[in-house]
């Protein structure tokens, strides 16, 4: 037991040393992060809704350097096996894929490996909780998301992009689903992690929130974190998600204004 603790502290020391050596100081003494943000600051959002004419709803979202494209088809008749039909609600079908050029190393399989299957599953869960599926019994809603450039927070950017696309498709949701990834470094929660921070051995937590009711649609955490810090981290993630929801709301309102102006003329 004592041996284990000693090993752990030694491991932690070695890791800190490694980080210093590699020049990766995730949070400077002045409280700035690698890309010059403050701890609770989000990355820059750039979004467009209705990017494709063919789809029922589509959106493009840039969150810092992570870029995602989301497309929604439906609600339509259930395709494929008829056994999937739910008599009381719509089936949500999600596919997550990463472009082969999205990462530093070229990806061999854009989708279908374990990680992306899992991601598809998580997206599906998130939207099953948020979309009012009971309004469309015996039908199906397809959500396709593609990462064009990956720079951390893939899951959260996908959720945010898909939310915009679902709104563009006019499918009713309980609330905006906003997702954010937060990390924990030197006793400080960092909001909206970028790739360097995610890879730097930070314990990261991804959270999808329906901000109005404070309900968590999905919660996922990797790496080690002491139980006592959990509350602070979830709190930080929820605050960040509320920030994201404000931005999304702004985007949607702006889009509606743009869309309604030509018809008024």
């Amino acid at each position: 037991m004592g041996n284990v603790v000693q090993r752990q502290t030694r491991g932690a020391l070695r890791f800190q040393l490694f980080r210093k050596m590699a020049g990766l100081e995730l949070l400077s003494d002045q409280g700035y992060r690698l890309d010059g943000r403050k701890a609770t600051e989000l990355r820059k959002f750039q979004a467009r809704m209705g990017v494709f004419a063919q789809a029922d709803g589509s959106a493009y979202l840039e969150q810092g350097n992570t870029k995602a494209l989301a497309v929604v088809y439906g609600p339509h008749e259930v395709r494929g096996s008829r056994s999937r039909i739910r008599h009381d609600q719509a089936v949500i079908n999600c596919q997550y894929s990463m472009a082969t050029f999205s990462t530093a190393e070229r990806k061999r399989r854009p989708h279908g490996d374990r990680k992306s299957t899992e991601m598809s599953l998580h997206l599906k869960q998130t939207f099953e909780a948020a979309v009012m599926t009971q309004l469309y019994p015996r039908s199906q809603i397809d959500i396709y998301v593609k990462i064009l450039q990956s720079d951390g927070g893939n899951y959260s950017v996908c959720v945010n992009a898909a939310t915009l696309a679902v709104i563009d498709a006019g499918i009713p949701m309980r609330d905006y689903v906003c997702a954010c990834t937060v990390g924990f470094v030197d006793e400080t929660p960092l909001a909206d992690l970028c790739y360097a921070e995610e890879g730097g051995g930070v314990s990261s937590l991804a959270l999808a929130l329906l901000p109005r009711g404070g309900q968590i649609a999905l919660l996922q955490m990797d790496a080690r974190l002491h139980q006592d810090h959990l509350e602070a981290l979830i709190e930080a993630a929820m605050t960040a998600c509320k920030g994201v929801s404000k931005v999304l709301d702004q985007v949607v309102r702006q889009h509606l204004q743009e869309a309604s102006v030509p018809s008024a003329e």
Binding site: K115, E128, I216, L219, D222, L225, L230, E231
Partner: protein
């Protein structure tokens, strides 16, 4: 084959029971099922029984070339196999959603939490490292596969010993266990997953759901922790809405459960170590006589007995006084004896039997009548026979008559002829 769906009746019953804080097997809300950890004869083979859920984990190691981006780290590989043996709902050879979910969760629980020192698995940097493979097989599915799998995997990793290697120049020698003692893996901490299932939109919470409960639940929250109260992974699944307070409460429960389970695992490991050192029976040999490995053992079900005696008393007190029975036989009418309550018989069966008797009697009567009729028929037949005979006879008689007539006529003719002759 698809799983047979749960009937509405059963679903309502389960949900109602959960509302009343009762569970099918008599557990409390936060109780785990009975857990049993056994080991195989080999190092790194472990069986975990969680109630009726049974899981086997086997760890194996081989020397391979390391990954390019991590030249001096060993490789960990996890695989959960859902064979159709465990449940008819599992299909062979297909990556189902459940299988992906379990595999990823196990990976996240054990690899991402860095519980194993992968650097110590390096033999020659950039050329040869140990690849540790953990295969988890589901043998019987009775819910909460994730917890059982995580316990089996980490226990098997703790139990596993890899062969020692020696390096002379460029040559790498792997020594057999007879030549040099095998070396255990260096494990920093033991992450253990604890599952919480939510019912009725998160109103009710259960720990360690069994298969039936898993079918009616709305969603699942899996928290992996170690005994130092460090959270190694959290994963929510199913379309539920959680509140922050619920997550915090679950994490507190998880920390208690994990410390209990860790203690159990270390005790099991210690027992096995002692048994091996003493040269006694260990592994399969130990588990053989009790369970025969493949046979399903039956545990006595723990039934909730907290208020049983009170309830029994209540029932006895509230019960109606049984009506007085007459012990002696009664003779209501001459030739009829009766034993019992002397009431009208309300047993439909006996009435039917009586009916049957009557019917039989009727049948007898009918038969008798039939016999009589038969006999009458016989008479009739005789009569008819006689009539027929008469009829039959009639014709000859007529014939006779005609012949007689003919004869008479002939006689007459003869008479005539005779007369004619006489006339002649």
């Amino acid at each position: 084959m698809k799983d047979t769906p749960l009937s509405n009746c059963e679903r309502d019953f389960l949900l109602k029971a959960i509302e009343e804080k009762k569970r099918l097997d008599g557990r409390q809300t936060y109780d785990y099922r009975k857990m049993k950890i056994t080991f195989g004869t080999d190092y790194g083979c472990c069986f975990v029984d969680l109630g009726k859920t049974r899981v086997m984990a086997q760890v194996s190691g081989e020397l391979v070339a390391p990954k390019e981006n991590r030249p001096n780290e060993g490789i960990m590989f996890f695989n959960i196999e859902l064979s159709p043996m465990a449940s008819p709902a599992f299909e062979q050879g297909r990556q189902s959603e459940l299988s992906v979910k379990l595999n990823r969760q196990l990976e996240r629980c054990l690899r991402n939490s860095k519980c194993i020192d992968t650097e110590s698995l390096c033999v020659v940097s950039g050329e040869k490292v140990w690849q540790i493979r953990v295969d988890v097989h589901m043998l019987n599915h009775d819910g909460n596969l994730m917890d059982a799998a995580s316990i089996a995997a980490i226990t098997a990793l703790c139990h596993f010993k890899r062969p020692d290697v020696g390096i002379q120049g460029d040559e790498v020698t792997v020594y057999s266990p007879e030549e040099r003692d095998p070396i255990p893996l260096s494990i920093y901490h033991m992450p253990i997953s604890v599952s919480f299932s939510f019912f009725q939109q998160g109103t009710y919470l259960l720990v360690d759901p069994c298969e039936r409960e898993e079918r009616v639940m709305d969603g699942l929250l899996m928290i992996a922790m170690n005994k130092h109260r460090e959270i190694c992974s959290i994963q929510s699944s199913g379309g539920i809405m959680l509140l922050k307070e619920q997550v915090m409460r679950c994490s507190k429960i998880a920390s208690v459960k994990v410390s209990e389970i860790t203690e159990l695992i270390s005790k099991a490991l210690e027992n096995d170590k002692r048994a091996r050192k003493a040269g006694g029976r260990c592994g399969f040999a130990e588990s053989m006589p009790q369970e025969r490995i493949t046979a399903l053992k039956t545990d006595e079900t723990s039934v909730e007995m907290t208020d049983a005696s009170e309830r029994a008393n209540d029932i006895v007190e509230n019960a109606e006084v049984p009506p007085q029975t007459v012990p002696s036989p009664v003779v209501p009418a001459p030739g009829v004896g009766q034993v019992g309550q002397g009431l009208q018989n309300t047993w439909g069966l006996e009435e039917e039997e009586e009916d049957g008797d009557e019917e039989e009697e009727e049948q007898k009567m009918e038969e008798e009548q039939d016999e009589k009729e038969d006999s009458r028929e016989g008479d009739v037949v005789e009569i008819s026979d006689s009539e027929e005979e008469e009829v039959v006879i009639l014709h000859p008689e007529t014939q006779d008559k005609s012949s007689k007539n003919a004869a008479s006529s002939s006689n007459q003719k003869g008479g005539k002829t005779s007369k004619q002759r006489e006339k002649k």
